[in-house]
């Protein structure tokens, strides 16, 4: 046990000294704060229209209005405020959808890898079938069936991306099953549930956290795609995908207004990718050895 805790302390140390992990985590904390304090940070109500000042440019341009630091859209709504409120939807979907996919995928992966046999066969074939769909196509089909809406998007992401967790974690469970302490636990007469929860799950947790981080970035992208095509939030809600769809129609007059929401998506996805990538490098035994 002492050896294990030393190893996990070392793993924590590697995580915290990794520039990727730190940069990703800092960005995510900032985004979370922005989402949390949106009403205090946003200079305007994101829905407020000012039809006398539409398509205002951002602050560095000549005709800018200091009241609208990043300018306004076609309906005279404050782009900065809409960006800030958009953070809420993006993070809400990222956290809820990715956690849901993690829960479903991990449970199926552990059960599949632990019991093997028919259960494993069935779950693996289900993954094969899911993998035959391009994810976007499956998401569109699900949203046609379920109806549009941000919670439906979350449900769709869970129903699609559980396979991402299931595939990766199942093979890790299979590796864990070959280690001595699993048969030992069986000989001691531990229940299946206890072995899965107390012996196998801790061994695959680092991997779960890594995939979770990457999945959050993917969820942000999927929500943006779905609100871009009008299958997620109502068309007047401030979501980044909606903003991009709106701004696309005025790209000739106001090219900047499409850049801001794209930048917001980029930063958010970058944050989750950096965190996931950093964690993977810090926690993956093989990579650790190679880097010394």
């Amino acid at each position: 046990m002492i050896v294990l805790s030393e190893r996990s302390r070392a793993a924590w140390g590697r995580c915290l000294s990794s520039p990727r992990v730190l940069a990703g985590a800092c960005l995510i904390v900032i985004l979370l704060l922005v989402a949390l304090f949106a009403p205090w940070l946003a200079p305007h109500d994101p829905q407020d229209q000012d039809l006398l000042s539409t398509l205002l440019p951002p602050f560095w341009m000549a005709e800018a209005d200091p009241a609208y630091p990043l300018g306004t859209d076609t309906l005279g709504r404050c782009i900065l405020s809409r960006l800030i409120y958009g953070t809420r939807i993006a993070l809400y979907v990222a956290i809820v959808a990715a956690s849901g996919a993690m829960l479903v995928g991990t449970v199926l992966a552990v059960v599949s890898g632990y019991f093997g046999g028919t259960i494993d066969w069935l779950i693996s074939r289900a993954v094969d079938i899911w993998m035959a769909f391009p994810p976007v196509v499956l998401a569109l089909i699900l949203l046609v069936g379920l109806g549009a809406g941000v919670n439906k998007v979350i449900l769709a992401i869970v129903l699609i991306d559980w396979t991402r967790f299931c595939r990766v974690i199942r093979s890790e469970v299979l590796v864990t099953m070959t280690l001595d302490y699993i048969p030992a636990a069986k000989i001691l007469g531990f229940s299946h549930a206890r072995i899965m929860l107390k012996e196998i799950l801790p061994a695959v947790t680092p991997l779960i956290i890594t995939v979770l981080s990457i999945e959050m970035g993917i969820a942000v992208i999927v929500e943006a795609i779905m609100s871009f095509v009008g299958m997620s939030v109502e068309s007047n809600v401030a979501a980044w995908g909606v903003m991009i769809a709106d701004a696309r129609t005025t790209m000739h007059q106001a090219p900047w207004s499409v850049v801001f929401p794209i930048g917001a998506i980029f930063l958010t996805v970058l944050a989750f990718n950096l965190l996931g990538d950093g964690l993977r490098r810090a926690l993956d035994g093989r990579l650790v050895q190679r880097n010394g």
């Binding site: 079938i129 993998m131 069936g145 095509v229 980029f266």
Partner: protein
């Protein structure tokens, strides 16, 4: 070799049958959850209840679900995808027009992505430990944090609007028409009709969407190729080549690359599947009349027969590209050939 490849393809095809059956049943079932009534959306304003009922019956929507599924499947096997509710045309006709457009675009995007991915991966490896690697590594991080459809919009913004270098709507300039549509593949058709202006216009229209798709697969290829090249560099055959005085670039091209290419190749298969997904949004953004655009139109209008058909075709394409990559894998990996047991 040819025999093994054939065997592999047949095995793949046999495996694809149950997958496609499950996929088709899944799609069919999910779409029947639909709360909206597609017939109600497509009847003209002055329609009577009798008109409505007749339309329902003509689309077979009055029967039970398993019956509907079996009828649809039976017709599908005869090459009949049914009729589009929204476009009022046979689905087969719509698909036959859109499929070549998508295949052409994916082909070009794939080619571009592989070229960028491989040359980028080699460049990253050659500059390892120097600032060049840092720059390239940073660029892969940026490329990966922006999904294809946002690249599409950024490309339109910078290379279509701010600097109007490329067209970004449709497949062909509006003042040009193809003399005779032969294959539906415009690159091929314009080349066959020996019209340079047509070919130039077609390629210019495909440049931005293909590039947006390519950015979707290139960074991961770069990274995987770089790390597999790093693994080969400690192998004995590389050390030996070095001792023989073989030049560094020759070592990379002749010795390290062929051995490092395999993981990249299997990744290309997976990425190929994703690229078909990427076309959905990219085609919509470029108003490119392919399968993706058809899919979006169908989704927006709850055109179930079209959605079903296009979804199934996407699955066939994904399974197909996986099979092709497997065969290529077999062809270039001598270890698999010796064993005689394709993975």
């Amino acid at each position: 070799m040819a025999f093994l490849a054939l065997q592999l393809l047949i095995r793949r095809a046999l495996l694809a049958v149950p997958i496609l059956l499950c996929v088709s049943a899944l799609v069919f079932l999910v779409l029947r959850l639909l709360p909206a009534d597609p017939i109600a959306m497509s009847v003209p304003p002055g329609a009577t209840q009798a008109d409505y009922d007749q339309l329902r019956i003509s689309f077979g929507l009055d029967r039970s679900l398993p019956e509907q599924y079996l009828i649809w499947l039976g017709k599908l096997l005869q090459g009949d995808f049914g009729g589009s509710i929204f476009f009022r045309r046979p689905v087969m006709e719509l698909v036959a027009k859109a499929l070549p457009a998508t295949l052409e675009l994916v082909g070009l995007g794939f080619l571009l992505g592989i070229v960028i991915g491989i040359s980028g991966g080699l460049a990253m490896f050659m500059t390892r430990g120097r600032w060049g690697e840092q720059v390239l590594d940073g660029s892969t991080t940026v490329m990966m944090a922006i999904p294809e459809f946002l690249w599409a919009i950024l490309l339109i913004l910078f290379l279509g609007v701010v600097l109007p270098l490329f067209p970004f709507i449709g497949r062909l300039a509006p003042d040009l028409t193809l003399p005779v549509p032969l294959t539906g593949f415009l690159i091929l058709d314009s080349a066959l009709s020996l019209r340079v202006d047509l070919l130039a216009s077609v390629l210019a229209h495909m440049a931005l969407p293909a590039f947006a798709l390519a950015i979707g697969i290139a960074p991961l290829l770069m990274r995987v190729l770089r790390s597999s090249l790093l693994e080969t560099i400690h192998e004995d055959y590389v050390t030996q080549a070095r001792l023989r005085g073989v030049s560094e670039s020759r070592i990379v091209i002749r010795h390290a690359f062929p051995n490092a290419a395999l993981p990249t190749l299997s990744l290309i298969g997976v990425q190929g599947g994703f690229m078909f997904g990427g076309t959905v949004l990219v085609e919509m953004i470029f108003a490119y009349p392919g399968l993706g655009n058809l899919m979006i139109d169908a989704v927006r209008n709850h055109d179930l027969p079209v959605i079903q058909a296009v979804a199934l075709i996407y699955c066939v394409l994904v399974l197909g590209i996986n099979a092709v990559v497997d065969v290529v894998y077999l062809a270039v990996n001598p270890r698999l050939r010796l064993k005689g047991r394709p993975a």
